[in-house]
Symmetry: D2
Subunit: 358 residues, 4 copies
């Protein structure tokens, strides 16, 4: 329920306005170096407040590691960590105690559990994704020692999108601008769009692209733990995610098979590879050695900076003015989360694949 | 790996050209009536040979139940069942013993396991999905006793698509034509397209739509077992599936939040519902009582009825002429599989949700 | 529920008097040779009818492999198999349709599920353990390729027990007599006891000892998947098992720490080992390279060959005369099952342990 | 690995001498009241320092709840909590940095992970069990609302044991003395034994008895999640546990079936029950409504208060003088842990059992 992964597993807890968010990483291989700086860097990439366009909540997001590391190296023991909720202003949410905001989880949580922590969205808040970013740092450190790198970037916000673009893995270019878009021209265009939407008190959605490079052939477990099935589950567990595809994905449905097949080639080193990568690096649920490419669609966030009509628990309409700090577009911040979830999935698949042969 | 589900679980085994496909359903609640006729009916809906457009393999698909039912009623014990592979013509695949077909799982299976049953795609064959349809019948029987129905239909093949169409749950209209499209005019158009593509020795993809109606509020487990995350995993585990979205999905990324929010209403019976359903029946990972709507994108199948170039294990190019029996478009047959996987996911979520309160 | 294991997993289905017992083994590493003869041999060691003392049910126990093996070698795909119930005489159980036998699972199954297949104990029958023996053959084949062997033998029946005995792994001596006791003198004594008890229409219990040799250092996952915890669960899932201990176990509770500690020694090859093995091959949940030694206690079986008083579903007392074929002592037959479950547990632990370091 | 449970799940992290121990409870039903006082009370029952006989480490064991409770009531969200390691004196362990103590986990952890936190036993320390006690408080609160109570007590230390004793559930009598033995005379005798052993610089083992009362008929999942199998796994995961049995257990192996069968009776209220309870409250893996009774054997702890010979990583013998604070007998402190693990197992089984019928 609050755990993801088979061998490399992340379990999370914590509400948006509780004392702290808590995560436990289990199954982290021993002997991997992870420093506070590596964690702080990745956290800063997800941080709200990095742009006028996203939430103004000013969390320091300091991560405290409570176990599983000795002399800077993982020990194989589970890694517990917390992130304090220092800047929580619960009073912003007092007026929502008995109110369900439209297209939020207020109503469903209340109906499911009969009780809910209404402050800041409680457990349903995207603040939970900060924990995923920490786990992603550990996963990425392990993957990098195997020559695997994970990238993600904003490919579309509203109608502004990258076209005929090939990502070469340059994450510096991604983190170089607040839109997390590696094309500077498009990034500027996206930023104008977001400011425009923000001024109108509205919100807008977009698409994050992900690329995993350097994966060996053979990751992914038939039949129900296919690499893409695990990846889809990981991505669709992110707040506001509404769709996932990989390779040619939804764009491939109107193509012919003869256009889509990836012809085999023999590399100069004698390995078998493919000329094109329409398949997105996976065949039959198992990685084929090419880059795994995928997309995640995010909806416009539900909280508008204008009056909206909610409903209270008695079914009476209630006018709501958003008083917290909210993103106009969640996509730039989701980039770090998509990257983390891809790393978590890939490391788990790498560990699982070791059991294919003795 | 070969199991899906938390409480209601399906485990499958079997290769395309082995003696039989085998499934075990665990966690099926006791006391549900499931008859051989119910199974045979659903199997016929997936059956190859039902149209000139799909594979000519002529399997009777007779399902033998080996346990878990007593006097026509489930006992709570696991349900084992087999489907014989009577019409397997392994000699059709002899020429592929040492050859990897492009965009198939031949190469990845060989690389992962160091050995593979090459006949008919072995474990990677879509024949495995027949077992899912059987499990789906059990899940649907349980769901129906709770007023929940699961529908699926072809929404698009190539560029022929349903537009401004609302599905009302009429599965008879779906199964009425070989395209599994509830709109007869569009179905005829799709059929012409498929025949055209088939004559060209090519293949084409499409989209299956799914709708789950009657779900109570409260299904889906935060955070990583959100309803949509479990559904995405189930769908992305289907052969040839390349994408998944729900609600407005990928089409919602360029919309504004103000257009997308679903305003609450109070129903005549006093329940809280929503006016629109852009959210696709889920908020914060938990069902909200509206229909869960989703889409699954399928690629054009990789096997073309023309010569293609593969590669052998030494890396030498090999000309391959498809000799087995193959679908031109997998979408019509996938409708029954999508329906089954949706039912399996929904029943599992229903059983999980019972633990939210004591 | 009906599955055991994390990576190497066995799922079983089937009732005593249904058409067949079915098992699916998932996570079996590819490339291991397993022949029908290996399976038949191990099945014969568990077979009822091998002695006057055990059940006279005359099953051929022929195992049909339905998948996962190609040219005699495992492929990494799941292995489905069935065992037919040819000699089921359901009419023997007709008088028990509405009756609960004392110390059987009749009442609890009926109460839990509201329905039950009363014939031969249905799902609760020890016939399910035949499937475990098949899975054990696969596990043992994999383990043997790594130099690991699994042994088990009868250490006690009633008050006849081995004393000051050290098992050296000679399974031939174990299977040499119907009591499955490697000491011939004690075996004869046990057989006389069982015959005596049988003539009195009574039953008797005993203890099976298990020994796993050749395990590398490092198997077992802290904290909750300690090697002994996984082994205990596997053993306590066997029908009629009432207790488990390992190393000095229950006998160690009245010993002093100074007597129990295992002093370290350096082997001639330079490895670190221990002089004694009071710990039973495990420290802190992780194997230490010494033999893992354990015991499983079995109760006298509940079905007596004399009149007993049961109760019907209305709560009325009913006199029952056992009419099926029943063991006087389950211990000799349990030896093969204990061995199989130990092998299943050890292989799973071996595969899990591969993730400790990258 | 570091998680136990199917629906009600505990995940733990933390080393003995790290900054804090951390736990996350997932699957806790919403709406249950748990107060800091309830937690503090149970923690005090496990606390070291409560007697001259056990470890003198003086931890306050203050538990900080970080999530999952709102206004004193569980919300269904995961409950994260920490316990600080205030009194850790890591310098006591400096001499053990490169040394393996006999019958400890030093060697096996080092061999498995290639690295280890040697301070205080690191992850292998029994300090981890403090987290289990916290989770047990939550489980007990849920169980109590269903009329289920969990008891545990010291039944034996060394050769001093309760005989012909029936526990009636009086936990006050248990916690009334430092031996956690409800019979005051025996408790005094046990205390004298422990003091005697302590003065000799030695240690001694014993047996904890557990009793779960008020369980409904029907808990436990055939086949591999039988109630006793889950309970055995939970108990055998406790540090120093060497054996588990239930009902008549090991003592029943030399009894006849005719002595052991539990005759059915109809209670005055019309329910079906049994006259005796040799079965220990479970039939066929499913609870039968009688008390579940079980025992857990604990070895004498390995750390002696005298010089012992260990080995260093080069295989050279090393004389070790224990300098930390250590228990002479772990049994009295284990009582609270056994109780907690029994509660965790029972609540998980209760939640699982809800899926048996729709």
């Amino acid at each position: 329920m609050n755990t993801i992964g088979n061998i490399f597993r992340l379990t999370t807890a914590g509400e948006s306005h509780g004392p702290a968010m808590t995560g436990i990483i289990d199954g982290m291989p021993a002997g991997v170096t992870v420093s506070p700086e590596m964690i702080a860097l990745e956290m800063s990439r997800r941080r709200p407040g990095s742009s006028a366009n996203v939430s103004q909540r000013n969390e320091k997001d300091e991560v405290t590691i409570l176990s599983g590391i000795y002399n800077g190296v993982t020990t194989g023991a589970p890694i517990a960590f917390t992130i304090s909720n220092d800047d929580a202003r619960s009073e912003d949410y007092e007026h929502l105690r008995d109110v369900y905001r439209p297209s939020h989880a207020d109503f469903t949580y209340q109906a499911k559990y009969g009780i809910r922590d209404h402050r800041g969205g409680g457990r349903a808040s995207a603040r939970e994704t900060a924990l995923r970013v920490v786990a992603g740092v550990f996963a990425m450190a392990a993957l990098e020692s195997k020559g695997i790198s994970v990238g993600a970037y904003t490919g579309r916000i509203g109608n502004v999108k990258l076209e005929n673009y090939t990502f070469r893995g340059d994450m510096e270019a991604v983190y170089n601008n607040p839109m997390r878009c590696p094309d500077e021209v498009k990034a500027a265009e996206m930023e104008r769009l977001v400011q425009h939407v923000r001024q109108a008190g509205d919100t807008v959605g977009g698409i994050v692209h992900g690329v995993i490079q350097g994966l060996p052939v053979g990751l992914g477990e038939p039949i129900y733990d296919k690499f893409q099935a695990m990846l889809a589950r990981a991505m669709m567990s992110i707040n506001a995610a509404k769709g996932f595809d990989y390779g040619m994905g939804f764009d491939g449905v109107c193509r012919l098979g003869s256009e889509m097949n990836d012809a085999f080639v023999r590399t100069p080193e004698g390995r078998i590879s493919t000329l094109t990568n329409h398949s997105g690096g996976i065949q039959g649920g198992i990685t084929n050695g090419r880059a795994v490419t995928f997309r995640v669609a995010f909806k416009p966030v539900a909280t508008l900076m204008r009056e909206v009509t909610g409903i209270d628990s008695k079914g009476r309409p209630v006018i709501i003015s958003a008083q917290g700090r909210h993103d106009t577009c969640v996509v730039p911040r989701a980039v770090a989360v998509v990257r983390a979830m891809a790393a978590i999935t890939a490391l788990d698949a790498l560990l699982m694949a070791r059991s294919a042969v003795l």
